[in-house]
């Protein structure tokens, strides 16, 4: 399917728009940074992660990045910081904690406030 051409959207008249603000194509949020309102971001500890993939299954924004069947990180252009990945992440008995936890936006390490 060819991309919906909206390059001249600012010049469109009322009748040029698809009816009722319908977007007649799928997946165009790929083209936009929609992660800007995130107040917390998921932090994943590589050592603790068992690669169970539950975060990838549950993420409502397809923002868990996977390469060769392994979670490698998050797509922060699209992650809204909802925390579902951290909530679903099971505790690793070897470490007694989860691999994913939410940290305040702007911080790199857990525990830093």
């Amino acid at each position: 399917m060819s991309k919906w051409d909206i390059s001249k959207i600012s010049e469109w008249k009322s009748e040029d728009f698809p009816r009722a603000a319908v977007i007649p194509e799928s997946g165009n949020s790929d083209d936009y940074n929609v992660g800007g309102w995130r107040s917390e971001r998921p932090y994943r500890d590589e050592k603790v992660c068992t690669q169970c993939m539950l975060c990838w299954i549950f993420c409502p924004d397809s923002s868990v990045l996977v390469e060769d069947a392994k979670v490698v990180g998050f797509d922060f252009e699209h992650c809204k910081g909802c925390g579902i990945c951290a909530a679903e992440c099971p505790s690793n008995p070897k470490f007694g904690r989860k691999a994913i936890e939410m940290v305040p936006e702007g911080c790199e390490m857990p525990g830093v406030k």
Binding site: S14, R19, I23
Partner: protein, 395 residues
């Protein structure tokens, strides 16, 4: 004209029958007096396998309209019904259904709004929906309620329109009285209504679409509202055309505005719904006494038939507009305000008075209609029209 079966049935039962015959895919519904028997009958039809709709028992009217919006966006033909507080609870979704251009058909049993609590007829509930973008049709009789409901699907789903339609009847007076009505057979109705083919359907996975999108932050919200205005203006010729086809099929006349005695009327009542019968009865009596009385019944309120009203009322010496709802603090009831606005464009002014009547099911006795016509005769022969509105029949 097709063969029809004559039934004795209540307005609600005939509305349920019309909805069944139009074969909606989804019915999300919540019961409320005096609409309850409509959704009860629909639930029974589904349970008996007499219709194949997905019947959803929702937990409130807010959810009934939300589910209707979702099902309609998915591509289904959707019908529901409500009344009074239920319609009020749907308020935000009414705007969403119209803004998303979803051809949902909803029946409303016209009933007063609280407080004080009351379950009887007036038009306070439906007039609250007049600026939501829905097409609004009124019925005088059970027959008209049946007919309007069938036409509503054709109008809503017309490609030039694609707007939701509210088809209404007066609570208890029309919804619960047993009336004589003619009904068509299922095939005739199915053929008349046709199959609904949505242009954008969420369940059409070969053509994925996204609905209910954001158009703020200097986005084209205003342009989408203009689309809505264009659509409801375009619905008027569609309603007329569907009405003509329906008349041809059934032999029953239909127009946005229906008149009685207006060819030579000196005085006239403009009215909506079941009270039109009372007004006509008294007008007929007055005619035998040489009074040229007429009645104008508004059957479609949105889009507002301004041109038709100008034609009907031009040259009349005195006109009374009867409102069965209030617009507190305004110059008059909703119908009065719009009729007066429509008549402003006439070169010769038509003397116009407003009566608020029958709130909360207060009895609309024939004496009240006689009083209105008598006031009109006085105004027509030179008496000063009362300034402002008159409460008719209050203590």
């Amino acid at each position: 004209m097709v063969d029809q079966k004559t039934l004795a049935a209540t307005g609600n039962s005939l509305v349920a029958e019309a909805i069944r015959q139009c074969n909606p895919d989804v019915i999300p519904a919540y019961p409320i007096t005096p609409q309850t028997t409509v959704v009860e009958e629909l639930a029974k039809f589904v349970a008996q396998g007499r219709m194949h709709a997905e019947y959803i028992n929702v937990e409130s009217e807010h959810s009934a309209m939300s589910a209707s919006v979702g099902a309609s966006a998915a591509g289904a033909r959707v019908a529901t019904a409500t009344s009074s507080q239920g319609l009020a609870l749907m308020w935000e979704e009414l705007h969403i259904a119209a803004g998303m251009r979803l051809p949902i058909v909803m029946f409303n049993a016209n009933r007063a709004l609280s407080a004080p609590i009351n379950i009887h007829c007036d038009h306070s509930d439906i007039m609250g929906a007049r600026d939501t973008g829905w097409i609004i049709m009124f019925a005088e009789t059970a027959q008209e309620a049946y007919d309007n409901t069938i036409m509503a699907f054709r109008i809503a789903e017309h490609p030039d329109v694609l707007l939701p339609v509210l088809t209404t009847a007066d609570g208890f007076i029309t919804t619960h009285s047993i009336d004589r009505a003619e009904v068509m057979d299922d095939e005739t109705v199915a053929k008349f209504v046709g199959e609904y083919v949505p242009t954008y359907a969420l369940l059409d996975t070969d053509n994925p679409t996204s609905h209910g999108n954001f158009a703020g932050l200097a986005g084209p919200y205003f342009e989408f509202k203009k689309q809505e205005r264009t659509a409801i203006d375009a619905s008027k010729p569609v309603i007329k055309q569907v009405g003509e086809e329906f008349s041809e099929l059934t032999g029953r006349p239909f127009d946005l505005v229906e008149t009685w005695g207006m060819e030579d009327a000196d005085i006239a009542i403009v009215v909506i719904g079941s009270t039109a019968g009372n007004a006509r009865h008294v007008a007929r009596d007055l005619r035998t006494k040489g009074v040229k009385a007429g009645v104008v019944k508004v059957r479609v309120f949105r889009p507002f038939p301004a041109e038709e009203l100008r034609t009907a009322l031009k040259g009349v010496k005195a006109v009374a507009v009867l409102d069965r709802s209030e617009s507190f603090g305004a110059e008059g009831g909703p119908l009065f305000l719009e009729v007066r606005s429509a008549l402003y464009d006439l070169e010769t002014r038509v003397p116009l008075v407003n009566y608020i009547y029958g709130l909360g099911g207060s009895d609309v006795r024939l004496e009240l209609m006689e009083q209105v016509f008598s006031d009109l005769s006085d105004i027509a022969s030179g008496a000063t029209a009362p300034f402002g509105l008159t409460y008719l029949g209050t203590r």
